[in-house]
Structure formats: C-alpha cells, structure tokens
C-alpha cells in the first residue's frame, strides 16, 4: 500500500438552506489505496453528503478533499465530470439505471464519454455479478437485487480506482442485501479497488479496513479493526 492516501478529507463542512441545516462539521479522515471503508451512522448523520462530496457531485462550504491527487474543490464542472467518469464508480441506493436500456447497455453507458465501448468487458462484469444470462433484460424485468448488481457492474465499467456506494442495500431485503454486499466487496477486492460504503445497517460490509461512525455531521468514531487487533495481540 502506498503511503499517499487515495482519499484525504480535511476539515470539511457542508450546510444546506443557507446554513440552517449543517450536514457536515469539520470532518477529516484519510483512506488508503485498496482499503475498504464502512461509513456508518443513523439517517441524517451526513453519510450521503460526505459521499456526494467525495464523488464531486457537490461542493463543500469549507475544507479540502483530495482524491488521487486531484483537489476536488477547484474543479470546473467539465473536469469534475471527467473525474467522476474516470476516477470513481458510484453505486446509488436507488440504482439509477436507465429503464429504456438493457442491463449490458446500462453497463456500457459510462464508457460513452471515453468513446471506448467494450461490450465484452461489460458482459464480463455482468458475469462477475451473476447476471450473464440477464444481460439483455431491462431493469423492469429484473429484481431489486439484480438491478443493484447491474449498478455494481456499471460502477466498475471504467475500471476506476475508487468505488463509492451509498446505501447500496437500502432498498433490498436481508438476503439480497447480504448477496449484493458480498458481490460488491468481492468484485472490488478482486480488482484491487478502494471501496467506501455508506450504510446504516450492520451487514453492510464484511471485515472492513476502517469503520467511520458519523452522528449529526461529525465523525464520532474512527476505528481500524486491524490496528485494534494488532493492539490486542500486543
């Protein structure tokens, strides 16, 4: 693992409604390359806001976010789009699939800006998430769990170093939640991705490298199980 963190969040604050709602207050943390991070906390604690900022879908009021050496605060909208397309893959809670496209076409969509249509790779990704035989199905013909698996494949379509998942199991039942999380972790682990999952449920991630707990917009707990284990062993 490189010493330079992939994600560095420094004193980030964000508020909405002209300061009436303070979503994040002075949040700071780093994520190393290849790490799996679970951001947990109750609804409204700022998890989604934090992921949106790391995904350059929004801008913080204060602080600094650097991902892979890119300062997200000063990106133009076009550069931010390029960053989203090349550096990160996003898995949304509500899947955000195009209903008019088939599963494989949904996976191909992120490749459009790069003008690199690799249908074989898209099919391979679908195969990895167990949907090889459903590649020509439209989202309406798939279950919620299957749709989220398509979303996972789409997040990996451009081979980004960082994958962000915002409540990826929020709309799924227990069994599907476990399956989807397992597939997400497996897919990212196999491809050496860094994964940040924001989820309030307990079975969000197996053996994360770090668990950040958020409450009322602040990072209340910052645990690295490996370090805890190492301390215990000592």
């Amino acid at each position: 693992m490189s010493d330079t963190p992939l994600v560095a969040v420094q004193s980030v604050s964000k508020s909405y409604r002209r300061g009436a709602v303070r979503a994040l207050r002075q949040v700071s943390f780093v994520v190393q390359r290849g790490e799996f991070v679970h951001i947990t906390g109750p609804s409204g604690s700022g998890k989604t806001t934090l992921l949106n900022l790391i995904a350059a879908l929004d801008l913080p009021d204060a602080g600094e976010i650097i991902v892979g050496g890119t300062d997200l605060i000063h990106l133009s909208s076009a550069r931010a789009a390029a960053y989203r397309n090349e550096q990160i893959g996003i898995v949304f809670q509500s899947y955000n699939l195009f209903q008019q496209l088939t599963a494989v076409e949904n996976v191909l969509v992120p490749m459009i800006p790069r003008r690199r249509f690799d249908r074989r790779f898209a099919l391979e990704l679908l195969d990895n998430v167990g949907l090889a035989d459903r590649s020509e199905h439209r989202p309406a013909q798939l279950s919620g769990g299957e749709q989220q698996r398509v979303a996972i494949a789409r997040a990996l379509a451009n081979d980004p170093p960082l994958v962000l998942a915002d409540e990826p199991t929020g709309n799924l039942d227990d069994e599907n939640s476990r399956n989807v999380m397992s597939l997400l972790c497996k897919s990212c682990r196999e491809r050496g991705k860094t994964l940040i999952v924001a989820a309030h449920d307990n079975y969000a991630m197996h053996s994360p490298d770090a668990i950040f707990e958020m409450r009322a917009g602040t990072l209340t707990s910052h645990v690295r199980p490996s370090e805890v284990q190492a301390a215990r062993n000592r």
Binding site: A81, Y83, L101, P110, P113
Partner: protein
C-alpha cells in the same frame, strides 16, 4: 443505438404529451406559415406596385406649349421646330443647387416635322441620357443596338416611326435644326417596344406603337448631345429625379420646389402621395395580418413550450444520472437538445409542408381600396425561417428551466430532487 434510446427512450406516459406537442407544433407552424405566405405575397404585390408606379421618381417639367398643334400640315405655317414642353429647366440651376438627394435624369422632348416621301411627317424626338434612362424606362431592341452616352448624330427608332420614315437599320433621315440647317441622323437600332417613364401626352398624329394611347409611345431617341444640337440650347424640357429612398420623396419635392420657386413655367409633380394613399389600406391590412400571425405564433409557441416543458421535467432525472456517471454538462444535455430539435424540426417540416400543399393559391385582401393585383401567397426563406424560429423558440423556452436546474444546481441535488 444507446444514444437513440437515451434520446427517445424512457419517455413513458409523457410520450403522448410529446406526440401531442408535435401535432400542435405542426398545426401551429402550418397556420403561421400559411399566414406568412399571404403576408409575403402581399408584400410582393406592394413592391410590384412600387416597381410599376415608381413613387420614388419625381418629375420636373416645363409647361406644355399649345403652339404644338399648329403643324405645317395645316398649310398656314412654315415648318417649325416646337418642343412638347417648353425648355425652361436650366440643368446648371438644378445641379448647382446641390440639394437634390437623388439621381437626376435629364430629357429634351422635341417634336419635329420631317420631310419624308414628299410629305411632312410628325415625329417625336427624345434627347435622353441612354444609360440612366434605361434604369427607369423600357426599351426593347429588335435589331441593332441601343444608344450609348458618347453617340452623336445617331438615332434609335421604334418600328412604327422607322416604317413611317421609310428607313431601316443603317439608314439616315434629316432633322431640321433650330438654326435652319439639317442634321442627318443615322439609324443604329430598331425598337419593338417602348415604355417611357412619364411620357409626354400624345397631342398630334404621329406614328404610334400603342394604338389610341393618350401618351407618346414612339419616336426617335437620340443622345442629349444630339438633341441639344437640334434644339440649339441646353435647357431641358423635363427631368426625372429618382430619390435614394421612397420616404425621402416629400423632402426632395420641397427642395425642388424651392429651387424652381422663381420659375412659374416649371412644375414639380410626384406620385408618392397618391401611391401612399393607394396602398395605405393595403399596408394596414398587412400590418394586421402580421400582428395576428405574431400573436398566433406566441400563443401556439407558448402552448408547445408548456407541453415540452412537462416532458423535459420528467426526463431531468435521466440527464442528472448521465452527469452523475461522468458525462460532461454538454454531453449530458445532448439527448435533451437532440430530442427537442428532432421534434421541432420534424414538426416544422410537417407544418410547412401542410401550408404549402393546402395553403391558399391566391388571396384577395379584404376591404382594400387599391387594386394592386392578385396576392399570390408564396413560401420563401422568410416564411421558413420564421416558422422554424417559432418552433426553436418554443423548444428553447421549454428547455430553459431544465437547463437551469441541471447546470446551476449541484448534481447531487438534482439527482436527489428528481429521483422517482
């Protein structure tokens, strides 16, 4: 394929709204185009009337000399050279004033008795500036050529005059000058049609191309230099002044009247006032049509914009997903623009076709006092441009709120706000 689906797919229940918008747009464009075709046809009728009437031309003429009627044929008088109009207009006076804002076309209109086949023949002789005169009058050359500015002792005759004089191309005929000497003119061109602008009245038997015309329709045309030799003086019988712009005619007329205020035998006449009276009713009706067409365009365009707006609002989430997946703002909006453009272009095309196929072939403008001829509706670049502009404006109007939402708000807000 994916682009096609991104542009047209996923419209869902708004599909019917889009189709309805297309039909409304087509119908609106058809009405607008048909109205504009009538307006364009009417404008053409107006400009045709203006080309024919030439209200931009002001005539300055000397008083008419009634001694003209006493021709040598009566046997009481010796052969005389008499002008149609008295030569009272001093060109120096006209030019020196410098206040005339227009092109000055000078004329000397003469009337001569020519000895032909042992008899006197009455013939009109016009001293003209050939190149300027051709801008306002029509001369159709049947044989030979027309006059040039540097020609001297040459003439162009109409067929009737040539026949009466018994000459043909290359032939000659004598014209008595003011000093009593004869000037021999060589015929260099024969005309089969003549339409002089502001011709002098026909007051005596003379060869005529247009039978029973009250105006002179034939004669011998010579250069002004030649006519000055015949006439023996440079003063003009009549002058036409062409205004740079039609609406400057009243001012020009005032200037000309000021120049000739001390010369009671010179009259300044214009057709501008009469023409304005003639076309005023027509112009008002045309303006009313224009207002109605604009109002229709605004109403129909707003309705179409409203329908399309609903379609776009429904599709904002898709455009936001594209932005979320890393499409640049321009690329994210491409499906929206393409959808709108394809819809309005095809709708406009259909509407224009409807207007052309089912529009009126001819149109009688209601309540018109003037007779400007038939109004022939026509489809031209202006009609096509105006109908397309209406459609594009409707699309732009419908798209602006979506553009504003997508470009001025964070992607996260749009994704969350438009999530279904």
């Amino acid at each position: 394929m994916i682009w096609g689906k991104l542009i047209f797919g996923g419209i869902g229940r708004r599909g019917l709204e889009a189709i309805f918008a297309w039909f409304v747009l087509g119908a609106a464009v058809a009405v607008i185009a048909a109205s504009l075709m009538v307006v364009e046809g009417a404008r053409e009728a107006l400009s045709r009337a203006e080309r024919l009437d030439r209200p931009d031309i002001v005539q300055v003429k000397s008083r008419f000399n009634r001694a003209l009627f006493e021709t040598p044929q009566s046997g009481n008088l010796a052969p005389l050279t008499l002008p149609v109009y008295e030569p009272l207009i001093d060109p120096e006076n006209l030019m020196a004033a410098g206040a005339v804002d227009g092109m000055v076309i000078a004329r000397q209109s003469l009337f001569r008795n020519v000895v032909s086949n042992d008899q006197f023949l009455n013939i009109y002789v016009f001293g003209i500036e050939p190149e300027l005169e051709r801008d306002i009058s029509t001369f159709s050359i049947a044989r030979g050529r027309f006059l040039r500015n540097d020609d001297n002792a040459t003439a162009v005759l109409d067929e009737a005059s040539a026949h009466a004089l018994g000459v043909d191309l290359g032939g000659t005929f004598p014209v008595r000058k003011a000093d009593g000497e004869d000037l021999t003119l060589t015929v260099i061109g024969i005309l089969d049609a003549v339409a002089l602008r502001y011709p002098p009245p026909r007051t005596v038997e003379a060869p005529s191309l247009v039978p029973n015309s009250s105006f002179v329709s034939s004669g011998a045309f010579v250069t002004l230099r030649t006519s000055e030799q015949i006439f023996g003086r440079p003063t003009l019988t009549d002058v036409l002044v062409v205004a740079g712009a039609t609406d400057r005619v009243p001012l020009m007329v005032d200037q000309l009247r000021e120049i000739f205020r001390l010369e009671p035998g010179v009259f300044v006449t214009e057709r501008y006032t009469q023409f304005r009276r003639k076309v005023q009713d027509f112009s008002l009706t045309l303006g009313l049509f224009g207002i109605l067409g604009t109002a229709t365009a605004l109403l129909a365009g707003s309705f179409v914009a409203n329908l399309l707006h609903d379609v776009y609002v429904d599709r904002r989430h898709q455009y936001a997903i594209l932005m979320g997946l890393g499409f640049s703002p321009k690329l994210s909006l491409l499906p929206a623009l393409a959808f709108g453009l394809i819809l309005v272009l095809s709708g406009t095309l259909a509407g224009d076709l409807l207007a052309v196929v089912f529009g009126p072939r001819d149109f009688a403008m209601p309540s018109l006092m003037s007779d400007l001829g038939g109004v022939m509706p026509r489809f031209d670049v202006f009609v096509a441009g105006a109908s397309l502009a209406t459609a594009i404006a409707a699309m732009a109007l419908s798209l602006v709120p979506t553009l504003w939402r997508l470009l001025r708000h964070p992607v996260a807000t749009t994704l969350a706000g438009e999530a279904r």
